[in-house]
Amino acid sequence: MEIKNYDVVIIGSGIAGSITANILTNAGKKVLLLEAGLNAGIALDAENAYKTYQGYLNTFYENSIKVPNSPYPNIEDAPSIDVLDLKQIEPGKPDTKGYLVQMGPIPFASDCLRGAGGTTLHWLGTTLRMLPNDFKMKKTYGIGVDWPFSYNDLKPYYEMAEHEIGVAGNKESMEKWVKGQLKVDNYYGSKYQFPMEEIPPSYMDKVLISEMEGKEIVLNGVSHKIETVTTPQGRNSTPNSKYSKAGIRWNPGSKKLEFIDADFRDKYEPVGSVWDPYSGQRCEGNASCVPICPVQAKYNALKTLKKADHGNLTIKTQAVASKLIINSISNWIEGVEYKTYQEGHNGKYDLQTAKGTIYVLAASAIENAKILLASGAANSSDQVGRNLMDHMTVLSWGLNKKERVYPFRGPGSTTNIATFRDGDFRKEHAAWISPLDNWGWGWPAFSPGSDVNDAVTQGMFGKELRSFLEDRITRQVLVHAECEQAPDPECRVTIDPAYLDQLGNYRPVIHYRATEYMLKAFEAGREFVTQLFDKAGIEDYTVYNPEKDADYVTYKGKGYSFEGAGHIVGTHRMGKTKEDSVVNENMRTWDHDNLFLVGCGNMPTLGTSNPTLTMAALTFKAAEAILNQLEN
């Protein structure tokens, strides 16, 4: 039995939990952090952090199929979602092979990581802000719902998130497109600076941009111009000499979070690895951001956790939160039950309760929803678990006939086609962003291993084989359309006593589908790429397999396969009223005054940005609200 009373109990050490812990402990609050992952993962001292991470790296090297969770331990007592478990679902027969119970009709295709640092260990690192219209989809396009605040309201918190993550970007590139196509001024603002200069765009980007920039694409009778933007990213680059911020702190006087200004001599220093500040000060081009950055030049949440005031922070690992205890009179949360496993594989555990003044769920969109449902908490709106969203991602790949582009180098993507991120078409079908992928056909075809296999199967060997592969590999192009899934109440996480894990906790039961709004986007997205490839001299090699692809769908007689983007969003949405949302604009649950939810589950709609940056911004907002509540 836990007797100590903390100011705040946080569930989960991913980016949302770590930011919250960092801000609160440095503001003098006593925090308990519960992490379901193995104890080794939380090491922040040089020797052990290095050792654990090298272990991840070797596991990654040795794994034959390299998917986002490959490097990391999958703990039987606290399993992670694994995309290797994905398969088509037979009608009426839920797929129970993996951790998720997939009810269908199609499987949910994204994973996340249960472990110290959370999914930031294998995130790609793309840090695009959402667009102003993304916050008012209902008002502008009659689709989905509006957020309880606007882009401009979130802007100061975006700046904090970009500081915390350490964003390298090119403000001018983004603003040129936002101003030109969307007629939005001051997207970043004239005074704003990124902490670091842009990650250099890839050689391939330059070749493709020269072939496609400004070209015209006609979709459903409307003409669009191809515009590319360099992608801001959470990985280390050359420090921006104009950046002048040194940190973020709580100001008890103004009751706000504020930036600490840098001394004029203190230039921004990229944050290196957890084990060595001088390792990972620049992205070294490992081309393995997903699933693991070997030098930790890419941001991960352990960097934030390391900055916490550890005198105020208690961390318990291998501690799986299972249930919130609700006071039946006040309706406040009065404890969180958690199961501490010993071995991780035999289902043996100790049941404990943690107590604090305020509780923060930061366990991922799916786990947050699951814990709430298991506790009968926060669900007076019946929205908990609903509106599960992802970027449904349609891949298109081909060979650049004109010239070699030398892929499989650099970060996953350094440039995106922004044209279809926003526009009137959103009334009809989903918007999408099309990153230019730097890693050839690795995602759709497991290239170049599959290329070797195919060539050898055909009987190639020797110098002929070598030069065939040289040509095949160096011309590979992948462009994908990450389609913004609109909120759909029938895409949801539920629980069922028939499906429990080894510790007796609920497994997430997932219902998932693609609405016509999405199917239309797949159709348009493919049409866009077809025209694009045509204009750029890229020969299309795209094949969707009706038998093998897990998320194969048809629309107007044509088949499309989509992949998950790993963007698990929307299960406890934020809103203006307690009738239609789970949390208010400060991410406090409408039903329980001392329960906050952080993470992507809060997002009412998804937009076309990878959600981590927005989620981090929201977390700063939540942390500020928590401090206000504690100090009142």
Partner: protein, 156 residues
């Protein structure tokens, strides 16, 4: 039980022929012994014996030309019906660092074999997560392309 034909030098020669990489390039990976052991451990003894005998015949062919060796290799070693498909397995081993167990499954020998996969060199790149080429390298042509193509370096 030692097999005089399946010695490291013989294996090196036949590997160079099958992969299109020079013997020195192959030694430079440091994987020669490990791969030979993998083959000996995972293949039928008979297949190994006759494969290396046949390979030796091809390599020692009198009046050989590059062309004649290629024809013999294609006819005698490459068919799936020859020696349990060993030639193809050897190529895949060098190129990917993994041993092909069957049509649907293969196994990476070791972290080192993953890093030394020749397919990455063939494609002018490096295995993801290893042999990283350094900040900003991806914005330029690969060094293996630049250094071999003198016209591009001299321009500074």
């Amino acid at each position: 039980m030692s097999n005089p034909d399946a010695s490291p030098p013989q294996f090196l020669k036949i590997s160079s022929l099958l992969t299109g990489f020079t013997e020195t390039e192959l030694i430079g990976t440091g994987m020669l012994d490990s791969y030979l052991n993998t083959i000996l451990k995972n293949s039928a003894k008979e297949d190994v014996k006759y494969f290396f005998e046949n390979a030796k015949e091809i390599l020692d062919e009198p009046n050989q030309t590059e062309e004649s060796i290629a024809i013999s290799t294609r006819k005698q070693l490459m068919p799936d019906s020859s020696y349990g498909g060993l030639a193809k397995k050897i190529i895949i081993l060098w190129y990917t660092g993994s041993w092909k167990v069957n049509e649907n499954s293969s196994k990476i020998i070791s972290p080192a074999s993953y890093k030394q996969g020749l397919m990455w060199d063939a494609g002018h790149t490096h295995p993801p997560g290893a042999k990283q080429p350094g900040f900003g390298s991806w914005a330029k042509l690969p060094i293996s392309v630049m250094i071999n193509d003198k016209s591009k370096t001299n321009g500074n």
